[in-house]
């Protein structure tokens, strides 16, 4: 499928993959800024700003923004991660001009005082919603424990206190610094005309400020190796995260890491599935690989009846140690590869999936990756490349966090160390 790229005079990057057989087009504005780029005084500002972007501009009230998107039947939203803030819409091809107009307009928000104060309530509601979901709380706390003094430990939502204390000027300062043209990539995939897109984006974004970009604290970490129990009487199951180091997003080893995670902890037919879920010892036990700029990590998550936690934790560590020492089998490798191949193909069949994939590849690698490139890279994973991942990133070098009714848990031998 044809790929195009263009940089505007102010540094804003545009990329696109056209696919004439698609029925729709997906459009995304990727801002390379996230929770890791925040200082403690403004904890949560990236995510709060993502909300404020929808609250209007000199040309549009908040209601106008929502109405204009709905008028073209757009499927639209935004998300904030540790490293990226992404605004996106899937639309029918004829509405591309309107979609560019709305997205470009809202990325220069007014940040009006009354909207700012009102939206604080919504953010605080969102924090409350996650607080009532122990699996999410456990994930957030586990990240904090693992990354410790690394910027990736920063909370995406912030706290009720940090949000209440945030001033509009602080957000404006953050916005002016981080939403500069060279820090933004406009990504399109699906049925659209490339020249039209460049023209539309240039008209709407060509005058955006330029400025220095970058990111502090890009470094690898193997985690704190701590073992922490957070007691919550009202929670029913025990929710456990076991985090260990992995390769960064730009490492060629990421394909092997993804494959390894699948063999260890996919939701069916994996090592953890057979050890814990199949026999009914845990209601979930998964492993996934997350890559970031400069570092990466494997997350094992497990939830089970509190009384079984200690035993199950030993089992998880046993699986990780065994994988660390002996690796996986050729059969497991092939199985993981067939699953990945099918997921890559299916994930690429809709413009929204392709837009996200090429946007992320560009953000982390400054590279266009076709579906075939990705399939080939996964196909090239061998037991040797998986051995290299294990050698450089010991999967049994764990940081553990448990959240649930248990008052305490015995620290298993070997937590934090790899033998």
């Amino acid at each position: 499928m044809p790929f195009h790229s263009h940089v505007l005079a102010n540094g804003l990057q545009i990329i696109g993959e056209t696919s004439p057989s698609a029925r729709s087009v997906a459009l995304g504005f990727f801002v390379r800024t996230g929770a890791r780029d925040e200082t403690p005084e403004v904890s949560g500002v990236t995510h709060f700003l993502e909300h404020m972007v929808f609250k209007g501009t000199p040309r549009r009230t908040a209601l106008d923004v929502n109405r204009d998107f709905d008028r073209i039947g757009a499927h639209y939203n935004a998300f904030t991660s540790e490293e990226n803030t992404v605004f996106y819409a899937a639309i029918l091809p004829e509405y591309l001009p309107q979609a560019v107009d709305i997205l470009a307009d809202i990325l220069r928000p007014s940040l009006r005082d009354d909207d700012f104060e009102m939206e604080k309530n919504v953010i605080i509601e969102e924090i409350g919603m996650y607080e009532d979901q122990p699996m999410w709380s456990a994930y957030d706390q586990a990240k904090r424990a693992y990354f410790a003094d690394h910027p990736l430990a920063n909370s995406i939502l912030g706290t009720v206190e940090s949000i209440r204390g945030l001033r509009r000027e602080q957000m404006h300062e953050y916005f002016s610094r981080r939403y500069v043209a060279p820090n933004i990539t406009v990504v399109a995939a699906g049925h659209f005309d490339w020249n039209d897109l460049v023209k539309l984006v240039d008209e709407r974004c060509g005058r955006w400020n330029t400025g220095p970009i970058g990111r502090f604290g890009i470094r690898e970490t193997h985690g704190s190796g701590t073992f922490k129990v957070i007691t919550k009487d009202k929670v029913t199951q025990e929710h456990v995260f076991i985090v260990s180091p992995g390769p960064p997003a730009d490492s060629p080893l990421r394909y092997a890491a993804d494959t390894l995670a699948l063999a260890v902890g996919d939701d069916s037919g994996s090592r953890l599935y057979w050890a814990l879920v199949d026999p009914g010892l845990a209601d979930s036990a998964d492993c996934s690989f997350h890559d970031y700029e400069g570092t990466g990590s494997f997350y094992v998550s497990m939830s089970c009846e509190p009384a079984r936690t200690e035993q199950n934790l030993q089992t998880v560590l046993g699986v990780l140690r065994d994988v660390q020492q002996k690796g996986i089998t050729e059969e497991e490798l092939q199985q993981a590869k067939s699953k990945i191949g099918s997921r890559v193909v299916r994930g690429s069949e809709r413009p929204m999936g392709r837009m996200q994939a090429i946007g992320m590849a560009w953000t982390y690698l400054h590279q266009y990756r076709t579906v075939e490139d990705e399939l080939k890279a996964f196909d090239a994973v061998t037991l040797d490349s998986i051995r290299e991942v294990r050698q450089r990133y010991p999967i049994d070098h764990v940081t553990t966090l448990a959240l649930g009714p248990l008052p305490k848990l015995h620290t298993p031998a070997g937590n934090g160390r790899s033998k």
Partner: protein, 412 residues
């Protein structure tokens, strides 16, 4: 472009539906077997769910491990889920692996081992599934809302009860399987890059001689009381509201869809605008339509901090009651744009298409064409939607709340 949709009814009553999508490399399959949790024996709530797990633990020539390995080697992502009326088997993979996948599904549906020695593990998982709802207050309130909104067993949750799960034996599960698994009422739908004739021949060969399974009967109990508060120490109060609507196939069906979308069809829809955007009362608020063959409802949800829960409930109910007073043409235009774009984007997803084929067939006995649905969307107007709301106004609310304190209901 007209879709290539195919249909074939086997002599034993099983239905096969397919849609060819030649621009994709994958295919999705979807079996609906009329063995939903409403058919759980009254003293064994949870049996359908137990069966949906046990049934994949060995079938045909393969034991549990071999079966999962065979599915994994096909790169088949799958899910077995129990709904009110059906047990659903969903799978998706590369189109070229679909025929091999169907062979395995024929074993699972027709020749499952249902082994005794896996029962303890399956029951332990079912109990944990039930228990984990306590850590998911949003799901919990919706489960309790459905339970109180419909006469039993229609609103029953698939997870069953602790007593039901604990007392279930492998014999109970096998009996449930024999009673309900069969060709009559079973629908297989496939969408993706498939060839119709080989598919039809393969399905004939795999399922043509399948027999058994009763047309199950359902006796409904009395309507439960409509209001309830569940006390729980949570940060947020969860609010669930349900009221009657009209089912698929009713002449007012599209008007009913229109009404729900005026409430909740996009971020400029009424609930999001009034409850979240103007008042900042919550993060999540929505309404959605749920249908059975003979009845349907609108289910609404809002989650909000405890101090603001009363206002959230009052404002949400106010919006529901206000709906029939009038709808602006602009609101209907936005609803139409949203419905049309969803309709078109659905054409890009094999799973969405496979799901739609099967549900159309179940509710209507036919598959609606793109043009038919588009024409119906085009006829929506404020008058049409308000007309429906006068015939079927939002009222007789079932309200379930969950949080530290009960809320007041201001009946007028």
């Amino acid at each position: 472009m007209p879709a290539e949709i195919y249909h074939h009814t086997l002599a034993n009553g099983m239905t096969l539906l397919a849609e060819r999508m030649e621009h994709v490399g994958s295919a999705a399959l979807n079996f609906l077997v009329p063995a939903g949790c409403v058919y759980d024996p009254p003293d064994r709530p949870g049996v359908a769910s137990i069966l949906s797990d046990l049934i994949i633990r060995g079938a045909g020539e393969r034991d549990s491990r071999e079966l999962m390995l065979a599915l994994d080697n096909l790169g088949l992502d799958r899910d077995e889920s129990v709904g009110s009326m059906h047990t659903r088997f969903w799978g998706a993979t590369l189109a070229r692996s679909l025929p091999a996948g169907l062979e395995i599904y024929a074993d699972i549906l027709r020749r499952p081992h249902l082994p005794d020695d896996e029962m303890d593990a399956v029951k332990a998982l079912a109990l944990q599934d039930l228990q984990s709802i306590e850590d998911e207050p949003r799901q919990k309130v919706l489960i309790e809302l459905r339970r109180r909104h419909y006469p039993p067993p229609l609103g029953q949750d698939r997870r069953g009860t602790r007593e039901g799960i604990e007392s279930t034996t492998a014999g109970d599960v096998r009996h449930f399987y024999q009673r309900l698994f069969g060709p009559a009422g079973t629908i297989l739908s496939v969408a993706g890059n498939i060839e119709w004739e080989p598919l039809r021949d393969q399905v004939e060969r795999l399922f043509g001689d399948w027999q058994g399974g009763d047309e199950p009967e359902l006796k409904l109990g009395p309507q439960p009381p409509g209001q309830e508060h569940i006390t729980k120490e949570t940060t947020q109060t969860q609010i669930g509201i349900a009221y009657p609507s009209v089912p698929v196939g009713d002449p007012d069906y599209y008007a009913a869809q229109g009404a729900v979308n005026v409430l909740s069809g996009g971020m400029s829809a009424r609930l999001f605008t009034e409850v979240r955007e103007k008042r900042g009362l919550c993060y999540a608020v929505w309404a959605s339509y749920q249908t059975f063959k003979d009845r349907a409802s609108v289910l609404c949800y809002a989650g909000t901090t405890n101090e603001r829960a009363q206002e959230t409930l009052d404002v949400t109910l106010g919006e529901l009651k206000r709906l029939k007073e009038g709808i602006a043409p602009e609101e209907v235009e936005r609803v139409q744009a949203g419905l049309k774009s969803s309709l078109i984007m659905q054409q890009e997803s094999t799973s969405a298409r496979a799901g739609s084929l099967a549900s159309d067939w179940y509710y209507l006995g036919r598959v609606r064409s793109f043009d038919e649905i588009e024409a119906e969307i085009n006829t929506l107007s404020p008058e049409k939607i308000v007309g429906h709301l006068h015939r079927c106004p939002p009222q007789d609310f079932t309200i379930v709340t969950l949080g530290p304190k009960p809320l007041k209901l201001n009946d007028e």
